[in-house]
């Protein structure tokens, strides 16, 4: 393809943590042709990002959110780095164990677990589980007796780009009774967790959430629960065109804010997913069609060979705005609606806020969709419309 791997225009807009010049995935995409959409992800970039986040997090231990990218090579890289793993299902637990993770490094962080999967986790030696209600505690007590549990709280006032719903967590009013119930069921009431929302771009956005949770932590300890674990969840951002702080500095800011409110926490845990792998991967894609709906249409429609059902699910509601590199960057641009290739009318990536793309863009042009290492390959459909799932190449 004809793209220039150094992309000087894009470089100047990117933060220091995201350098095209030294990016193996960019170089690979520039040097190769692809006959279908392909995510190219660099283990070296994942490892480097782990080191940066770890340095910033200090005492806090990383439990990688496996759901963000479950490529076995990524898991193995993180096992070697000493990472822990936040797993959502039996499938993710089996994946991590197969890549060499120890059961003691795995938490079963989904608050909605199949009873048989709890029993499986217990049987392989996993002892740390999330819960947010009575029925889940009862399931855990039955199928993983004596386990350590942490209670997930609903937090308000999320300032994240991908804020979380009320799906996970309990209201703070429920916390005391759940901690008591855990103890009464023979479980270890081990700690608390929360999530500030995915893609929380600024560390100061954590403050209102920490201010909400810290009094609950102290009250629970005062009530006799010897809490050991504070799981601060994810939210660590990736670069999608809007400036973010470098990961080490961001993580250090968050940990300082935690320490100021919680004091000394025996076990501090963070669960980055997006913040760890998103910038390590890019998607090689192709323009299938450029058209206007009428002679006086203000926007062009640009259709790619990848869409919401083949990897770019996080464009729902236009929440995550991926950046594109094209062979015509630097030339005159105009507004475009960007859409996927399927015969599904909701398979539109950006319409309310059109994207600026070169006016010379044509069908057959190769493009690169940047920072796609998280929440792409695993979201891909099995083959909607007969398009194969997103291909993945790990460098």
């Amino acid at each position: 393809m004809t793209m220039n791997a150094s992309v000087p225009g894009a470089l100047s807009a990117a933060p220091s943590a995201f350098s095209y010049v030294a990016d193996p995935a960019v170089a690979y995409i520039a040097a190769n042709d692809f006959d279908r959409p392909t995510l190219v992800i660099s283990r070296a970039k994942v490892a480097a990002q782990y080191d940066e986040l770890s340095a910033g997090l200090g005492q806090a231990h990383i439990h990688y959110a496996v759901k963000s990218n479950p490529a076995p090579e990524v898991i193995r890289t993180l096992v070697r780095k000493g990472s822990g793993f936040d797993c959502a299902s039996r499938g993710e637990i089996e994946l991590c164990l197969a890549q060499g993770a120890k059961p003691s490094d795995i938490s079963f962080g989904n608050t909605i677990k199949r009873a048989a999967d709890i029993a499986f986790a217990h049987s392989v030696g996993i002892t740390l589980f999330a819960a947010d209600c009575e029925a889940e505690l009862e399931k855990i007590a039955r199928h993983a007796p004596g386990a350590r549990v942490y209670i997930r709280l609903i937090v308000e006032n999320s300032l994240a780009d991908w804020p979380l719903s009320r799906k996970f967590g309990c209201a703070e009013s429920l916390l005391p009774s759940l901690l008591d119930l855990a103890r009464d069921l023979g479980l270890v009431a081990y700690g608390l967790s929360f999530h500030v929302g995915s893609q929380t771009r600024k560390p100061e956005f954590w403050i209102p959430v920490l201010d909400q949770v810290a009094p609950l932590w102290h009250a629970a300890r005062a009530a006799g629960h010897d809490l050991q674990l504070l799981n601060i969840g994810g939210g660590f951002p990736a670069y999608y065109g809007q400036s973010i702080e470098a990961p080490r500095r961001y993580a250090a800011s968050v940990v300082r804010a935690v320490a100021a409110r919680f004091g000394s926490v025996p076990h501090l845990m963070a669960e980055p997913g997006r913040g760890l792998v998103a910038e390590a991967g890019h998607i090689a894609a192709e323009v299938l069609l450029v058209s206007r709906k009428s002679a006086d249409d203000l926007h062009r429609w640009v259709y790619l060979d990848i869409g919401r059902f083949s990897g770019l699910a996080e464009t729902e509601g236009e929440a995550i705005r991926y950046q594109l590199t094209t062979p015509h960057d630097g030339e005159e641009t105009g507004p475009c609606v960007l859409a996927g290739p399927s015969c599904d009318s909701v398979d539109i990536l950006y319409e309310k806020r059109p994207v600026q793309l070169p006016v010379s863009l044509r069908d057959g042009d190769k493009v690169m969709i940047r920072c796609c290492g998280a929440y792409t390959s695993s979201y891909s459909s099995v083959g909607f419309n007969g398009f194969p799932p997103l291909d993945v190449i790990v460098l």
Copy 2:
């Protein structure tokens, strides 16, 4: 499982076309246990529905929208019935050919095609293609010289439950120049197509759309284009709890309305997907958790082992409202938020309009999600959160 296959309460609410008593998929789900969400689909029901729609459509030939359910056994059943096939990609074309479809029975109906896929379709003998813009016509002329093309129009005023966006089709102002261009490129300007929107519950909802398209059809013929094909697309509804007309009567109403406006059309084509397969399949699922977020929460949260990323994608925006059968039907009910099992906050099925479910519903209860034969298995992710793709059993 303990569900009663005859489900008398649900029966009385269902239209005549949807009978639980004679439904092999219901009987199979009632008689078996499943360790993961499973779509059970009955070929006999697909064949019966094909017969009903065909009888109503009269001269109009069915081209099944393969994307709605690409199970090979379903395709083979429809090949034997004499159906044609509307394909969205090379993958779907290969699937249909492998199941015995003739190239002459296949249309390449996606208006957004990879050039190499057009060439492939041409090489295997497919001669009918959709287009809605100049660039696509040029691609078709280059890679499938001499092909028959039909131009897709944007239609307004959709009254469908799943209305279509402006993604597909051209404004009517563009139609004359596109027909001229097709002819000038050596293609056969063969006809027009449109789509009233998926799940168009009443045949009278077609009227405004037919009123819009008919004058364009007559004008194009008056301008010298010997149009042969009118492709009226899909939109044929399935039963999701709201009353619909029986398929034969619905199809006959539509064809009568077409004839009144278009007169004698040499080739009339319809592309049912949902209307052909949705009612033939049901999903066996399980309740993983029932909880409240606080002691005074007005709704319970019911979490299933299937959600938006493992088959129920059409719950986006709460558009398609699936009906549930539980072991406690007939008992007292209360309002529930219904959500999927993944650690993704958007994986919520119904929250704005909660569903009424029995108050005795508990984790571990088996449930049946009804009329899921369309747009479920193919939408399923490859394994988001480590959950396997939706399993499919074809009876």
